[in-house]
Structure formats: C-alpha cells, structure tokens
C-alpha cells in the first residue's frame, strides 16, 4: 500500500469512525433515556 492509499484509508476511517461512533453513541443514549 502506498503512502497516498494509506492516507486516503486513514482519512476515510476518521470520517466513518467519527460519524458511525457518534451515531452509535446517540442511538444508545436515546435508548437509555427513553
């Protein structure tokens, strides 16, 4: 894997991990405060 490919993969991991992790946390918080 080249540095360019690795940077794209890391960037996408930040985007999807950030959004996915936060959405999952919101979903759980929504369930526990229901």
């Amino acid at each position: 894997m080249s540095t360019d490919e690795a940077a794209l993969a890391l960037g996408l991991a930040i985007v999807l991990g950030g959004l996915g992790g936060y959405a999952l946390w919101l979903w759980r918080a929504g369930r526990t405060t229901h």
């Binding site: 940077a7 794209l8 960037g11 930040i14 985007v15 959004l19 919101l26 405060t33 229901h34």
Partner: protein
Amino acid sequence: MRLQALARPLAVAGVLAVVLNLVLGLVVAPTAANFSAPLAQRLFYFHVPAAIAAYAAFTLTAAGALQYLRTRAARWDRLAASGAEVGAVLTTIALFTGIVWSRVEFFSAGSLAGTTFTFALLGDAKFVTTAALWLVFLGYLALRRNLDPGEARARLSSVYALLGYLAVPLSYLSSRFSPHPDFLSRGSGLAPGLGLLLLACTALWFVVLAALVTHRLLVEERAAAAEAAREAPDAASHGGMA
C-alpha cells in the same frame, strides 16, 4: 411529537447521504493529477463539507444561546447544547482529515518533503484557528458537564457560546491569511465541475447534520423530561414527556 416523527426518516436520510458522499468522493470525482497525492486529495470531499457543516452546527448553538437569553425557554438551551456537541464531532473529523491529507500532500511526497510537519502545521492560520474553535466548544461542553442543570447553567453557557462563536468567522476567514487552500473563494483554481461536486457533498453533510442534531436534541429532551419527573413525580405521572 414532531421531532420524534422526524427522527427515523432523518436517520435513514443521513445514512444514505454518507453512502452517496462516498460514491461521489471515491467514484464520481475525477483523479486530480496535479496533486502530489492524487488519492488522498479525495478527502477534500469529506474534509471541506465537514468543516462547513461544523460552522453551521455552531451557528445553531449561537442562535439557540441568543434565543435562550431572550426568551429563557429551556428548549433553546437544549438546541444550543446539541449543536455544540455535533459541531465538535464534525470539527474533529475536519481537523484530522485535513492533517492526514496535508501530511501526505506536502510532506511525504510533495514540495515540503523533509520539513518538520508539526512546526509547519502550526504556521497554518486555518489549522490554528480551527483547532482553537474546536477547543472553545469542547470547553463549552466541559462547562455544561460540570454545572448542575438549570437556569444558571443555561445562562452561563449561552453567554460562553455567544463569545465562543467569534471563533467561527475567525476560522472561516483565516484561509486568507495562511497558505491553506481555500476552495470556496472565487478564483481558487478549482475546476467548475469539481466545485459543483464539492457543493453536492456539502449539501449531503447538511442532511447528516440535521439527522445528528435532531437525535441529539431528542436525547436532551428525554433527559430533561426524566429530570423533571424526578423533581416532580406527581406531575410526571400525568405525562410530561417532551
């Protein structure tokens, strides 16, 4: 409640928006040959919209804070808190995708290969002001967490949010005073087709923003209703859910 009715459709729309953004950024967007790192350049289609959506989220916070100070209605304070948290998440994404992209574009393969990365990053006014914006709103969230819910917390955090909001125009305008690429201004050199693509991605991130703020607001409202029920159990038995 209306907000509750919006929650599920917005969640579905948010997921679809992310998938569509991946397709636009990774498949539809042409490879930019004039970059040292043409693949990592595709991170623009996530980095720029995330930053703009974060500015919008903090604008919701400022609007909520202002409305709270005018009306003293707790729902505006809850909107402010929701916007700040979602904005902090989006700024985290914008900051770190930017760091990854610039690291490979300028330092690993590009014109500044061999230069000390951290030092150069601190010389970028856009990075510094956006990191400051991030810290300001993390401070806002820390402030709220360390005060008991109530009018005093709402009042103090509203004033803090309005002062902190000054960091938004500072971050937005700072690209004029730094070597940071500014793709939103005229004459940025971005091909018209790519500008349109970036605009479409930004619209998609506004859908994600709406979904996240709505869900965060629902969590806030349920927590507020639970708090009210704890304080007045009799009133809660007649249904005090937000």
